[in-house]
Amino acid sequence: MATRGFFGKRPSEGESDRLPPGQYLTEDFPVLSAGPTPRVDMEKWSFTLKDGVKPVARWTWDEFAKLPHVKLTRDIHCVTKWSKFNTAWSGVMIDDILAEAGIEPPTAFTLAHSFDGYTTNVPTADLVNGKAMIATAYDGKPITPDHGGPARLLVPHLYFWKSAKWVNGLQFTKRDEGGFWELRGYNMYGDPWREQRFTGD
């Protein structure tokens, strides 16, 4: 149905090709989180890979800093409707983390964990083959706490709640287990191009 009297401020042609349905372009960088911003102590920071409940590899901040860091510049899309183009991150590709740990992904599903207790699920296939990283810098500077620093997951091709802030580990799971928002009505996969915002979309 057309809405009476609505004409809209549409994006330019170049922009609209890059905007998934229902999204609008923003220049600033909004912050969305379910709770306060945690301040993560770098002395206590660690990143752990788990196969089910079993830890298979763990890095301290200094150890993680020695892993190969690369740049990844991508458009990002938040389920609250804003999109931001050309966000420039750097960090460690999940492929390189797995190679460093000397493992193949043991299961098809992954649950990302964060220092504040947040979790989110991502199919393992969406984390490997150059699709995702643990980001430690944004725009050439350490990621600020409100944007998920010191380290956040970056899975830019899915809605941004999948890119867990304050990440402290990835857990491979046998089943596709819903995380924090997924248990509260949000989509298990979250593809912005198919507008998978909520359960059943």
Binding site: M1, A2, T3, R4, G5, F6, F7, G8, K9, R10, P21, G22, Y24, T26, D28, P30, V31, L32, S33, A34, G35, P36, T37, P38, C78, T80, K81, W82, D116, G117, D146, F180, W181, L183, R184, G185, R197, F198, T199, G200, D201
Partner: protein, 249 residues
């Protein structure tokens, strides 16, 4: 566990505008009657979708300000953002009788109902008051014995959404305390002046620690308020936040 029961699928539907009311110089409230509505939990929001004649669509999320009730209607309060796309449409075009597409209710974390208990502390910056008003109104009708404190920061006295109702509730409800601070207008009797700070938070917490704290507003407001609440000793896990980002309403 605070997950509310969500329907299997959120379908788009139409709602008719039943009333429009100017609440402040920049905020209007809209009462909507969705064609099919089975209720919501205080604190939730809806997604609005507008469609231009050529099929172009814009979507935004707006919090519900009314309490869950049997009326089959919901009240949204929308602030006009100068360069916005959807909020100016609501302010300048929408009239009683118009039909608007929406889906919802949405949100399973920034919500409150009686089983979650109290005392509750609600901290609002500007139009961040909207979902907190739903919680406050709901508490008054289902659990008036649960103590509640509202801290609200507004630019000026006239920018305070639902001001008369807030002041009346503060006067009539012995378990509800209202703390208002104005950032761009000198204090009036009983109101504070300036941004929220340590002293204001100490005052808000004077009656004892809240079991649950809800903070809603712009990102800088929520960051500042959450840091103050945590610094005052409130446990991290008990604080829920909602930030209004991407100011493109």
């Amino acid at each position: 566990m605070d997950g509310s029961a969500q329907p299997k699928r959120l379908l788009w539907q139409e709602a008719v505008i039943e009333a429009v009311h100017a609440e402040t110089p920049t905020v209007k409230s809209f009462r909507l009657r969705p064609d099919s509505w089975s209720g919501f939990t205080a604190g939730q929001h809806v997604d609005i979708r507008l469609t231009a004649p050529d099929g172009y669509q814009a979507q935004r999320s707006y919090s519900i300000g009314s309490a869950p009730d049997q009326s089959g209607t919901i009240e949204l309060a929308i602030e006009a953002l100068p360069d916005g796309e959807v909020s100016p449409f609501f302010h300048d075009v929408v009239e009683v009788g118009d039909r608007i597409e929406l889906r919802g209710p949405i949100g399973g974390h920034f919500i409150w109902d009686r089983p979650l208990g109290g005392p509750i502390l609600l901290v609002a910056g500007g139009s961040g008051l909207v979902p907190l008003m739903s919680i406050l109104r709901h508490r008054a009708s289902v659990a008036p014995d649960i103590p509640a404190v509202v801290v609200v920061s507004a630019r000026r006295y006239d920018d305070l959404i639902w001001r008369d109702e807030l002041l009346r509730r503060a006067k009539d409800d012995p378990n509800f305390r209202l703390i208002v601070t104005l950032t761009r207008e000198q204090a009036r009797e009983g109101l504070h002046f300036g941004r929220i700070g340590t002293a204001l938070l100490a005052d808000a917490l004077a009656g004892g620690p809240p079991a649950l704290t809800y903070i809603c507003g712009s990102t800088p407001f929520v960051e500042a308020a959450a840091d103050l609440v945590l610094a005052a000793g409130v446990p991290f896990e008990s604080v829920r936040t909602e930030r209004y980002g991407g100011a493109k309403g």
